[in-house]
């Protein structure tokens, strides 16, 4: 009887722990989509089934150990088989598994149904950033971690969203079905945002599908969930969900800006303009390897400041940015950056930190090269 009481008390303690677990982030979040809530309740159902099995199995075991101990004269019974018991302990788990498989399969079917989406977003994993493309809207950008390197090196106090903040979040509308088409440029990454219940591998050469229909505006954070190289921990995901109207305005603004940028390719840019733009691009894209002052981290990441080949050979310099260097960590930026950004960052690196070549690489030249 006392054993039974202890078990009942234990179960109640466990049950009491579950809201505590949720509040402390020990449990998976309930999330902000219908599907995430469904996945959460499925997870809890299966968790409680496991708890019940654990209680029964260990209850019987400990009770038997205690009740039939040798000091009280219990004697072991020697028998080889008992077909009834064997059938029972095969059939019961079978029924439990089928019982769990039915709701789990129903949820899976829903997860795979990415049809009838109102918006398509292409998500591309790159070492080590995410690229978002609003298909059919001419809006695309890369999203880079914005946590300062000084915080990572421990020279500054860590901010509130340390390693979970980006320069440009993925903006999505609420109450609309959004389909994600997910792939990668280099190695396998995984796009994971717990509150959206999306964790999907992005694989070079494959396109995976997933979808969300967010019902609460807000900021949702996630990370790359597939070890993808040196800066795997430094490619966070931030989703900014806003009401439909607000989103439409945002998208229209971004479209206009993209159109303006496209016009910028044809005109001649001043050195100062290119430098200013280039510094921003360098900070978000290049500085993680080539370092803030262009000093690099040889031998993996060559120094750009005072790099003789870079200073002497503008063609090679631009080629390196556009096509990358195979066999090294230097990726091709032809699809990540637009002509204006490539020209700006080339100009910046040719003139910053005492490189002082005075060259202004024009976006039109880059556009020509990219078209070839």
């Amino acid at each position: 009887m006392r054993t039974l009481l202890v078990w009942v008390a234990g179960c109640w303690t466990l049950a009491g722990l579950s809201p505590l677990a949720l509040a402390n982030g020990w449990n998976m979040p309930v999330g902000v989509t219908d599907l995430s809530r469904e996945i959460y309740s499925l997870h809890m159902t299966i968790f409680w089934i496991c708890v019940a099995i654990g209680v029964v199995v260990f209850g019987v075991m400990f009770y038997s150990l205690f009740r039939f101990r040798r000091s009280r004269g219990a004697k072991a019974d020697n028998f080889h088989e008992n077909t009834t018991v064997e059938v029972l302990w095969t059939a019961i788990p079978l029924l439990i598994l089928v019982g769990m498989a039915v709701p789990a399969t129903a949820t899976l079917v829903k997860m795979y149904d990415a049809s009838d989406a109102e918006l398509d977003v292409m998500i591309t994993g790159q070492q080590w950033r995410w690229r978002y493309e609003y298909l059919g809207e001419d809006v695309a950008f890369t999203s880079n971690m914005s946590t300062p390197r000084a915080q990572i090196r421990g020279e500054e106090a860590r901010g509130e969203h340390y390693l979970l903040e980006v320069d440009e979040p993925l903006v999505l509308p609420t109450n609309r079905k959004v389909r994600f088409l997910m792939t990668a440029d280099d190695v396998i990454h995984s796009w994971w945002v717990p509150d959206l219940a999306v964790k999907q591998d992005t694989i070079p050469g494959f396109i995976n599908e997933n979808w969300v229909n967010i019902d609460e505006p807000g900021i949702y954070r996630g990370q790359c969930a597939e070890l993808c190289g040196m800066d795997h921990g430094f490619m966070p995901i931030v989703v900014h969900a806003m009401e439909g109207e607000e989103f439409d305005e945002w998208l229209a603004e971004r479209k206009e800006a993209a159109a303006e940028e496209a016009l910028g390719v044809d005109r001649d840019w001043e050195l100062d303009e290119l430098m200013e733009r280039g510094e921003a691009v360098y900070g978000s894209i290049c500085a993680s390897c080539h370092q803030a002052e262009g000093q690099g981290a040889p031998p993996a990441f060559p120094s750009l400041a005072g790099n003789e080949r870079l200073i002497e050979d503008v063609e090679w310099h631009v080629q390196t940015i556009v096509n990358g260097v195979s066999g090294t960590a230097m990726p091709a930026f032809r699809s990540t950056l637009n002509p204006v950004e490539i020209a700006a960052v080339a100009t910046f690196t040719r003139n910053a930190w005492g490189n002082d070549t005075g060259d202004a690489v024009q976006p039109s030249e880059i556009a020509e090269q990219l078209a070839q």
Binding site: E81, T83, V87
Partner: protein
Amino acid sequence: MWSVIKSVLAAFFGVQKERQRRADFETGRPVVFIAVGVVMTLVLIGLVALVATLAAR
């Protein structure tokens, strides 16, 4: 024949009576068990496919 099918079904389930097992090993021919096993595997696959098709409708 019926006893062979019963034995194969027991093997699918994973539980068999010791008495029946001995009988099978003493009187049965392996070829028969293998043939019935292959046929019933195909039947099982067909059944699973049927259930999956019905569920997906």
